[in-house]
């Protein structure tokens, strides 16, 4: 209905200047996307007695469990996005170069599943493989390497790093593949004709062109890793203090804080970090687009 009305309005409204056909979209995103963000920001600035205050942000900024959670979350997303972007870039190169046709299409969908369906199933799969009774754990033990001899458990920080890498790598493949596919054959030919070796081509041509896309993809992975909730929640049940997990326990009422709106402040803190990371992504994308268009 909405659609039909919007379009008949456009017709009666003359030639192509109206914003009316876009109104359903603006109303929808305004109400379900912008308004929640504004509302949580406003409430984070209110204290227990509904007065304006910055007190909710204090626990995040001074050392303590909430500050620590931000440190752990940042560390986790930094490590996994480094692993993910390097391995993923390598895979993307091999896939673009050697996987064609149907096989390439299947690899695309497999990457999409691995990158997106993360969350809950992923956590349980890793418990099956690397848990104390896991298949891989036993296999490695038979080969003489007891991974549980030290401090490692799949429910620890290292465990979460492993699981996160599992979706960061294919995400990198998806994001970075277009950049590699965009390397033109002519550039390689030109540099070869000018007498450059393969190494020189990579050092002087391909890598400088790919760097902005690589940095952009890195920021995207960073933001994704920082915001991820489901996997860590299902895997650790709170043993690794990550910001999203702590917000979750505050919401569920499992942890009582004397500050009613602390969870809101943490949520806004996450938005700030993610915005900075995505700012990096958008900036790098612009740089990358400049190369492609020139």
């Amino acid at each position: 209905m909405e659609v039909v009305r919007a379009h008949s309005r456009a017709r009666s409204g003359g030639r192509g200047t109206g914003v009316l056909p876009l109104l359903p979209f603006f109303i929808f995103t305004g109400f379900f996307l912008l308004w929640p963000v504004i509302a949580v920001t406003l409430r984070s600035l209110h204290g227990n007695k509904n007065e304006w205050t910055l007190a909710n942000y204090r626990p995040i900024l001074k050392s303590g469990p909430y500050f620590h959670a931000f440190v752990v979350s940042l560390k986790l997303s930094l490590i996994t996005s480094i692993i993910g972007s390097i391995l993923g870039a390598f895979f993307a190169y091999v896939i673009v170069k050697y996987a064609r046709g149907k096989f390439g299409a299947v690899i695309d969908s497999v990457s999409a599943v691995f990158a997106n369906s993360g969350g809950v199933p992923l956590a349980f799969m890793f418990v099956a493989a690397f848990g104390t009774e896991g298949i891989v754990t036993k296999l490695l033990k038979d080969l003489g390497w007891d991974i549980y001899a030290g401090h490692f458990t799949i429910f620890s920080f290292t465990g979460v790093v492993m699981v996160y890498s599992f979706f960061q790598v294919p995400l990198m493949v998806l994001v970075f593949k277009p950049a590699i596919a965009g390397l033109r054959k002519e550039w390689l030919e030109a540099s070869t004709n000018l007498g450059a070796s393969s190494f020189t081509y990579w050092r002087r041509v391909a890598i400088p062109i790919l760097i902005p896309s690589f940095i952009g993809a890195f920021f995207l992975l960073f933001a994704g890793g920082f915001s991820a909730y489901a996997t860590a929640r299902a895997l650790t049940v709170g043993t690794v203090p990550l910001v999203p997990i702590i917000i979750g326990t505050l919401v569920d009422g499992n942890v009582i804080s004397d500050q009613a709106n602390l969870g809101d402040a943490l949520a806004v803190g996450m938005i700030v970090v993610a915005t900075v990371a995505m700012g990096g992504y958008i900036w790098a994308q612009r740089k990358a687009a400049k190369w492609r268009n020139s």
């Binding site: 192509g16 995103t29 050697y98 299947v106 691995f114 199933p121 099956a128 915001s227």
Partner: protein, 259 residues
């Protein structure tokens, strides 16, 4: 100058790497899920356990229902928006582009907290509130899918031809544009569907029960059963997406031939 071919070393090394990173956990989990009673032998006991659990069918049904609704709502909202944007609304494009990338920037956890604060009570009391947020979460992907396929068709020509032959706007969209951008529409639909059916974060923070949140609760009773669900949903998703990818490749080739 002779170039050394790195083809096979690269392929072998990357296959080896991907086996370690991806195949081993998946294989380990599947082996585990086929374990028999008391961890001995092989059987389907964990999969059978699953089917007889309280809440398996209701939660699966809820997830399917919400995912289908989200897919449809997404198309109803986004197809006209994207068509208009590519046709006449060029100057709003960067604004829409920005709004559609926002769900990637705003952590879903924060969005969920915001939803609790901002949504009117009547909406918060119904599980259908999730449909709206599933559509929001899928926006970055559906925008890309629809935009890409709209740019490959001569939209203006199609619309002018259809309108000058006397078709209404609604008819033009349904009979001319939708068939032309079929691949983008299927892509958008399936992406929304897939994201919705696996969505955990916002669902659990808003305290609704769908298939993923039910799985986590069920896992506390029987981890083997939870692993069985995980393997099932992973393999199922890969199979489904591969079939779609192969099918859409084929129809794209066919379309090229027809032209």
């Amino acid at each position: 100058m002779k170039r050394i071919s790195l083809k096979w070393p690269l392929i072998i090394f990357s296959s080896f790497l991907s086996i370690i990173i991806f195949i081993v956990p998946l294989y380990g989990a599947s082996l585990y899920s086929f374990r028999g009673e008391g961890g001995k032998g092989h059987s389907l006991v964990n999969y059978q356990w699953l089917l007889h659990q309280d809440g398996f069918y209701p939660s699966l049904f809820t997830s399917l229902k919400l995912a289908v609704l989200a897919g449809l709502l997404n198309l109803i909202l986004m197809v006209p928006t994207m068509v208009y944007l590519n046709l006449k609304g060029q100057r709003y494009k960067s604004l829409v582009d920005f709004l559609c990338i926002l769900p990637l920037i705003i952590p879903v956890v924060s969005l969920a907290i915001g939803a609790q604060v901002a949504m009117p009570k009547i909406l918060q009391n119904s599980e259908y509130e999730l449909v709206f947020f599933f559509v929001i979460i899928a926006l970055p992907y559906t925008y890309r899918a629809l935009d890409t396929s709209l740019q490959t068709v001569a939209l203006k020509t199609l619309v002018e031809a259809s309108r000058s032959l006397g078709a209404t706007w609604t008819r033009t969209i349904i009979r001319v544009i939708v068939p032309a951008i079929r691949s983008g529409i299927t892509g958008a639909l399936f992406l929304t569907f897939a994201l919705s059916i696996g969505e955990y974060t916002i669902t659990s923070l808003l305290h609704w029960e769908t298939f993923p949140t039910w799985t986590v609760v069920a896992a506390q009773q029987n981890i083997l059963g939870a692993i069985a669900i995980s393997v099932f949903s992973f393999v199922g998703a890969i199979a489904l997406l591969s079939v779609i990818a192969l099918f859409s490749k084929k129809s794209a080739q066919k379309a090229e031939v027809e032209e």
